[in-house]
Structures are given as structure tokens and as C-alpha cells.
């Protein structure tokens, strides 16, 4: 079926396997009653179940929560957090500012764009190795095509302070030795040996841990959506507590104009 017939079939109703609320009675969440079966569930457990349709062990959930926690920085200078802070200083609403900050987190050089590319790279690399291909040659080819490797290198600083604590926790939980984590560190060695000056960063490690948990790229992408959230509210709050407009004010001379010289306006013919 296609064309208008396909659309006609869907008019007026939601056909779903995901869930529904029967107002005043009950709520079904991916086949489970929210208020009876899931009444004691942790929020992250529910969120991950919503994304994947699967349940994870307490250790796995602790690791997943840490993937968010360890990258929650209440620093309003960071680009996405700055949006939340600017919303605060401009006296906008908290929901608007934080929702926009989360939307901005879907960036191409950090956040969700990198998450997807990082897990995709690791999955493709493992497939290559499983087929007997040589890792160094594959990595070199990837760098030539993509100019960088998602999950390696960092836009602002070389070192990544999140790697050591995340690996310490993963070790404690018995989740540090999966094939993708091992592969991520082997690639790191290849990059050092090849003098490409790109070290494993948190995005690469998080993607490897997620791949070892069995998350698909899309599941990982949606799972990471709240990753920066906890650091955003403080940025909004503090900017709202300070005088309005006082977060990152810029004078006219802070605009470094590099364009056309002043010229008279002439209406088009």
C-alpha cells in the first residue's frame, strides 16, 4: 500500500506497540503497566527500557548513569551550557533555556553527532578486524577519508579528565574488559604510534562501553540525550540570580568586524 491510501489507513488513530495512557485508569509502557509493574523502577532503568525495550543489570545501569554523570559540567562557558546560562541572564524560562541547550548538544564536533560517529566507527572497525583486515591500515584510511576519527582528539584540550574515573568505575563493575573497550584502547595505541596526535576521548570510551552493553548506534544516540543535562540547570539558575544581562556581556568593541566598509544604501532598481 502506498500514496494517499497509506495515509488514509492512519487517519484519526495512533497504532502503537510503545504504549498509551488510558486516562483515569492505567498507563502501558512498552507492554508493561507503569504504575504496577514499574512502580519501583529507577528512572534510568525506565529511560533505557523506553529506548531499547530491554532491561539491564544494576551494574550496567550504574555504568550508564555514570556515562551521564561524568560529563555533567556546570560550566556556563561551554557552548551548550552557555545557552542555558544566556536564557537565565535574559530572564527567559528554565525549560526553554535547558531544552535549547540540549538541542544544541546535538553538535557535529561534540555531543550527539560525535556519539553516533564514534560508535559507528568502532562497530565498523571491529567488523573489519573480524574479516581479517589490518587495524593500522584501516585507521589510516579512516583518517584520510574523514580527516579525523570520532571519539579521538578533543576540540579544546588534549587530555580528557573523564577517562580515568570512568575506567575505574567500569573496572569495579566488571564492565571494563569488553571487546569494544579493548579495541578503543588498541586504536589509541595505533594513533600514538602513527603520531596522529589524537588520543582516545570520553566520547570514544563512552561509545565503546555502550557498544559492549549491546546498544545499537541509534539506541546509544537516544540514550545519551540527557548526558549534559545535570550541568545545565545550575548554569541557568546562577545566571538568573545575578543581575540581568550580566552573563557574558559584550561591548560594541567586542565585535571584530571584518566585512565591507561603510557604504551608502541605495534601493534596488
Amino acid at each position: 500500500m502506498k500514496g494517499p491510501d497509506l495515509l488514509q489507513k492512519h487517519v484519526g488513530r495512533l497504532k502503537t506497540k510503545m504504549g498509551a495512557c488510558f486516562v483515569g485508569s492505567r498507563v502501558v509502557f512498552r507492554g508493561h503497566d507503569l504504575h504496577t509493574e514499574f512502580k519501583d523502577i529507577d528512572w534510568i532503568d525506565l529511560y533505557v527500557f523506553g529506548v531499547t525495550g530491554r532491561r539491564f543489570s544494576p551494574e550496567q545501569l550504574q555504568l550508564m548513569q555514570a556515562l551521564w554523570t561524568y560529563t555533567s559540567y556546570p560550566d556556563a562557558r561551554i557552548w551548550n551550557n552557555r545557552v542555558a546560562g544566556l536564557a537565565g541572564t535574559a530572564r527567559s524560562t528554565g525549560n526553554l533555556g535547558i531544552a535549547a541547550a540540549l538541542a544544541v548538544s546535538e553538535a557535529s564536533i561534540y555531543g550527539r553527532g560525535i556519539d553516533l560517529r564514534a560508535i559507528d566507527f568502532l562497530i565498523r572497525t571491529k567488523q573489519q578486524l573480524d574479516h581479517g583486515n589490518h587495524l593500522a591500515a584501516w585507521v589510516e584510511k579512516e583518517i584520510k577519508v574523514q580527516r579525523s576519527i570520532a571519539g579521538y582528539g578533543r576540540p579544546i584540550a588534549a587530555a580528557d579528565e573523564r577517562i580515568a574515573p570512568m575506567m575505574a568505575l567500569a573496572n569495579t563493575l566488571g564492565l571494563a574488559d569488553g571487546p569494544y573497550v579493548r579495541l578503543a584502547f588498541v586504536i589509541d595505541e595505533v594513533l600514538i604510534t602513527g603520531r596522529w596526535r589524537q588520543r582516545l576521548n570520553y566520547g570514544g570510551l563512552a561509545a565503546a562501553l555502550a557498544a559492549d552493553l549491546g546498544l545499537s548506534p541509534q539506541e546509544y544516540y537516544l540514550f545519551m540525550f540527557p548526558a549534559f543535562l545535570a550541568g545545565m540547570a545550575p548554569c541557568y539558575i546562577e545566571a538568573g540570580q545575578r543581575p540581568e544581562g550580566s552573563l557574558f556581556p559584550l561591548t560594541c568593541s567586542h565585535i571584530l568586524y571584518e566585512g565591507q566598509p561603510q557604504r551608502p544604501w541605495q534601493p534596488a532598481d
Binding site: 500514496g3 502503537t16 538541542a103 559507528d120 561591548t251 560594541c252
Partner: protein, 267 residues
């Protein structure tokens, strides 16, 4: 990150001069070198200002006329459009104005009649130009998509996956724009629409025509995507406010057909 006081916003678009008593207060603002409040105000058209923000030079009259016609064609996708529907979901529940527009932007950003579709059509124009064989090859074998935040395209961008024939407004817009355009692509598209529709088996859409107009106006795919998002907001805003006035009791909620219902399975 350093705390060095070398703070500057680099821009080729905008310059401001401060009032003598306050470095944070603007005495004069210049867009691409033109005095916005001193000279453009009252003399420049909205579409001239809009173009100037995205390009180095002001548009010719023909370009401004085409952009203005495009702005009218895009101003209201109508309440059936997913982006306007999203804005109305904000309006009906009393959400802030900005969240209604954010909803319209998020939904209207996609590959089904949205900003991303415009981007992809404009990339196709850059690759194929006015070469019919190149278009046929690209439509038959689209370039491979790398993984990204965007879902994989499910239909040839610029064509309606659920369409049966070219709609009257699409024909009207294309005909009007082909006459207005100072570029080559819109007249070429008007001439070769049927061949392209035969190649895809699908009718051309308004977003396909809009993308072509943006290309004829000299905008990049990134600029076309932005402008498409921007120019479709007026309708979303108006419909959101209207639904707020009508109230939620008059707004559809839809029936649900739950395919894995634990209560039903128990029974």
C-alpha cells in the same frame, strides 16, 4: 580553556558603534557596511535585509521579488503540516510562544518536507546543475549516506513519497517562480519537471521548488535550510495562537490502537 581577555566576535555581517556614554549601548549599527537605522530603515525591503544578512551584497530587484514571493509561498504550511501541528500542540496547552516555535522548528527540520530536505535538494543542484542525465543518475543511485544524527532518507528529496500527481499549488509556485527567477534552475525545473517525476515515480513538492529558488538566489544549502526553517514560522505562530483561543476541547486527541496491551492479553 584560557581566561585570557582576548574576547571578540568575528563577523563580516555586523558592526556597531557605541553611544559616547555607554560602550554597551548602540549608537549606530551597520549591516554589510550599510547604516541600518540611519539609512536602510524606511527605504529597504524586508527581503533585502534578509538577503544582506546571508550574502555580502544586497539583492537585485529581481532577486528580492523572487525571495518575497518565496516567503509568501512558505509563510503557512497549513495546520495539517507536522511542523504547524507541533506548534499547535504548544499553543493548545498554553506553552510559551518560543516553545511553539521551537516545536515547529524541530519538526519542520526534517527530511519529510522540512529544512533537511531543502538542504539535500540544494546539494543535488550543486552536484547535477541543469544536466538531466546527471539528475536521472542521482535519483536512480543516490550518494551513500554516512551515519549522522539524521535518519536515512526514505524518498528522493524534493518529491512527495505519498503523492500521486503534482499538486496545483506546486504547479502555480513553479510557474510563477520560473518567470520571476533571475537564475537558470527554476526555468529548467519548470521545463523538465515531468522527466524528473517520471524518473522518481513521484510528484515534485513545494520544498523541492523552494530549494530550487534558494539555489537560484545564490544561497548555499546551509543557508537555504536556515531560510526555509525561518520562512515557515509565521503560519506556525499564528496557528499556535489560534488553537490556544479555541482551547483543547476542540483540538483532536486521536484514538489509540495499542498492539501490546497487557490487560487485553490477560483477558
Amino acid at each position: 580553556m584560557s581566561n585570557a581577555p582576548t574576547i571578540a566576535i568575528h563577523t563580516r555581517i555586523w558592526r556597531e558603534e557605541p553611544e559616547s556614554d555607554n560602550p554597551f549601548a548602540t549608537r549606530a549599527a551597520f549591516c554589510r557596511g550599510y547604516d541600518v537605522y540611519g539609512e536602510m530603515l524606511g527605504r529597504a525591503r524586508w527581503v533585502e535585509m534578509l538577503t544582506l544578512l546571508f550574502r555580502e551584497e544586497a539583492p537585485t530587484k529581481a532577486e528580492a521579488d523572487l525571495l518575497e514571493a518565496l516567503a509568501i509561498a512558505l509563510a503557512n504550511p497549513g495546520p495539517r503540516d507536522p511542523s504547524v501541528h507541533a506548534a499547535m500542540c504548544g499553543g493548545v496547552g498554553g506553552s510559551p510562544a518560543a516553545s511553539c516555535l521551537m516545536a515547529a522548528l524541530a519538526v519542520g527540520a526534517g527530511q519529510y518536507a522540512g529544512g533537511r530536505e531543502v538542504f539535500l535538494v540544494m546539494e543535488a543542484w550543486n552536484a547535477c546543475g541543469t544536466d538531466l542525465d546527471a539528475w536521472r543518475q542521482r535519483l536512480a543511485a543516490p550518494p551513500p549516506e554516512e551515519i549522522s544524527i539524521w535518519p536515512l532518507p526514505e524518498h528522493p528529496p524534493g518529491f512527495n513519497p505519498h503523492g500521486t500527481s503534482t499538486t496545483t499549488p506546486v504547479r502555480q509556485v513553479l510557474s510563477c517562480f520560473a518567470h520571476l527567477s533571475p537564475g537558470l534552475r527554476l526555468p529548467w525545473l519548470a521545463q523538465h519537471r515531468e522527466e524528473l517525476e517520471t524518473a522518481t515515480g513521484l510528484p515534485l513538492t513545494l520544498s523541492g521548488v523552494a530549494a530550487t529558488a534558494f539555489a537560484d538566489l545564490g544561497f548555499t544549502p546551509e543557508q537555504g535550510e536556515m531560510l526555509h526553517l525561518l520562512l515557515r514560522l509565521p503560519g506556525a505562530a499564528a496557528h499556535a495562537l489560534e488553537q490556544h483561543r479555541y482551547g483543547h476541547k476542540k483540538f483532536p486527541f486521536f484514538a489509540v490502537e495499542l498492539e501490546n496491551n497487557p490487560e487485553r492479553e490477560e483477558k
